[in-house]
């Protein structure tokens, strides 16, 4: 049984804590930083291409074949030409393999499930060896990168990246890059965990249900602008109000507002109106 004096303090303390939590959690404008000035493209007459595709050494192919046989061939077939459980990989190029295995989506336990991002099962070197082996099977198909991308974000423009992101990416990945559900049980993944290289690989190879953005549509500079925006403001949002609540929009914000905000007000009203 609380003493009268303790009770005098209890409710106010509860409410102060509750409302302070609301204050800290209230999301700042995530997108407000979007239009902020970019680093600005250089004015050089012939700016160097921000993305280079590095070919993998031939020595990677032999160990890569062993790794492929033990990790991938049960679904993709020993010659990577695909089976009922996995697609044909001939001609998709090393960057495709690097994306799928490097983001932990492959190898996949259950071929029917949508691959989701997890910690890669293989080391980076082994991933590149598999990529080299798959890349060695056939000339890379047109529109797919022939090597592993290396990206230099120094000259990238955040403002251009923002407008390209809004036009091409935000429909599925949402304006905060948190990802969202699609049809038939599929979903667009969050962009908050992607590295710059993985973002380039995804744009250039169109993994799974993502459309394929070739150099005819977005040139390397535009890709670099988008990647700079994703690895910058998207992954490090400036939430002026405190936490961003995951950037998933009105559901989380409404829950906090109703549950903690209105709940706190009810506690206060109860305390003020209570005839002890």
């Amino acid at each position: 049984m609380l003493t009268r004096r303790r009770r005098l303090f209890l409710l106010p303390a509860l409410v102060v804590v509750g409302v302070a939590v609301v204050g800290l959690l209230s999301p700042g404008a995530v997108a407000r930083t979007a239009a902020s000035t970019g680093t600005g493209a250089t004015n050089a007459l012939d700016p160097p291409n921000p993305i280079t595709y590095v070919k993998l050494p031939k020595s990677y192919i032999a160990p890569g074949e062993q790794l492929f046989l033990s990790n991938c061939s049960s679904c993709h077939g020993p010659d990577a030409s695909g089976t009922d459980n996995g697609p044909d990989l001939v001609g998709v190029g090393p960057a495709t393999v690097d994306f799928w295995v490097g983001t932990g989506r492959m190898p996949l336990g259950n071929p029917a499930a949508q691959p989701v991002q997890k910690t890669p099962r293989l080391s980076n070197k082994k991933i590149l060896e598999i990529a080299a082996f798959v890349g060695s099977l056939a000339p890379t198909a047109p529109g797919y990168p022939d090597g592993i991308p290396q990206i230099d974000l120094k000259g990238a423009s955040l403002s251009t990246g923002f407008s390209l992101f809004v036009l091409n990416c935000a429909a599925c990945h949402t304006i905060t890059g948190s990802g969202d559900a699609l049809a038939d049980g599929f979903s667009a993944p969050t962009l908050h965990k992607a590295t710059a290289v993985q973002a380039v690989e995804a744009l250039r190879t169109g993994p799974a249900n993502m459309p394929h953005f070739g150099p005819g549509q977005l040139n390397d500079q535009q890709v670099a602008d988008i990647v700079a925006y994703v690895t910058g403001p998207i992954q490090h949002p400036n939430n002026a109000g405190g936490l961003g609540l995951g950037g998933i929009g009105p559901v989380a914000e409404g829950f906090i507002g109703l549950f903690i905000g209105v709940g706190g007000l009810m506690l206060v009203a109860f305390w003020i109106g209570d005839r002890t």
Binding site: R5, V15, V16, G143, C172, D184, F213, G216
Partner: protein, 306 residues
């Protein structure tokens, strides 16, 4: 009508209802004092943080501490330290007496009848003015609701020979999109200042093999390029969530799903009609061109849509 005088007893401090609720007012007073002090400290710190340059989260916390300290202090003051009551104030009867009501009614009726009969001309003018103004008030329906939609609901800026351009106005070449690629396109000349949301069209290159979206549209998809209006036929949202492996376009607003290889036939959701398809061809230089405009109104249905 006279108000009934009510006798208010002189309040005395030892009356039970004049006593505060708190059993030990001194201690409660101290608590209230502490709360108000917290408030004062909060306000002062808020000002201090602002003075030395400002930091949004700190300012918010200190302002909150100040307001909460004062709020709870004042509430506790009122709740525990002021006389607890109850206080009763008798009120005099509201209703007028029967005679008063009677006299008032007859006065209004008699005098009103007399006034209107004697000033028939003025009454007529009053009626005429009200009648005319009543008609004038209907006038905005004739001209002030903005321009009529005219043909804009039926047609877009796409016509035979319109080049497909991206949002920056660059023409789309047959080699630009990869298989599995999409782009939002506009008719050339209608991007920057001439932009029209009705024109937005989604260009898709879904597969490697030739396909026919509907009988009669055999030559609408050169090089396996296909273009549909991006405006959903349900509520007009931009349909551009493309699922490349399923060849389906998803509308983000109400989850209508359209089959890209089968003429954007809706396969799920509330959309009542397929997205209109834009017939394409490729010109001598290899650029994509509309071989005609849309053959039907784009977007959601409206009153005269057949």
């Amino acid at each position: 009508m006279t108000a009934t005088p009510v006798a208010y007893p002189v309040a005395r401090f030892d009356d039970p209802h004049m006593l505060p609720l708190a059993k030990n007012p001194r201690r409660t007073e101290r608590v209230v004092g502490i709360l108000l002090l917290i408030g004062v400290a909060g306000f002062a710190s808020y000002g201090g943080v602002y003075w030395v340059g400002g930091q949004p989260q700190l300012e918010g916390i200190f302002l909150g501490v100040g307001l909460f300290g004062f709020g709870f202090g004042l509430s506790a003051w009122g709740k525990y330290l002021l006389p607890q009551g109850p206080f009763v104030e008798d009120r005099h009867p509201f209703a007028s007496s029967e005679e008063d009501i009677e006299a008032m009614t007859s006065a209004v009726v008699d005098r009103g009848t007399m006034v209107v009969r004697r000033r028939g001309f003025l009454g007529g003018l009053l009626a005429a003015g009200s009648g005319i103004m009543g008609i004038v008030l209907v006038f905005p329906l004739l001209r002030s609701l903005g321009p009529t939609p005219g043909k804009t609901l039926e047609t877009t800026n796409w016509k035979a020979g319109s080049h497909l351009v991206d949002a920056q106005g660059n023409r789309i070449h047959r080699a630009d999109l990869e298989v599995g690629g999409i782009a939002t396109v506009f008719p050339e000349g209608y991007t920057a200042d001439n932009f029209s949301a009705y024109d937005q069209t989604i260009l898709i290159r879904p597969v490697k093999y030739p396909f026919v979206t509907k009988p009669g549209r055999e030559d609408w998809t050169p090089d396996e390029y296909v273009a549909y209006s991006k405006v959903c036929t349900h509520a007009g949202c931009p349909v551009d969530l493309y699922q490349e492996q399923l060849y389906q376009l998803l509308c983000p607003c109400h989850q209508s799903l359209f089959d890209v290889l089968k003429g954007a036939q809706p396969v799920f959701g509330p959309a009542p009609r397929p997205l209109p398809q834009l017939p394409l061809k490729i010109d001598e230089a290899g650029y994509l061109v509309a071989s005609a405009g849309y053959d039907q109104p784009i977007g959601p249905g409206f009153w005269e849509r057949s």
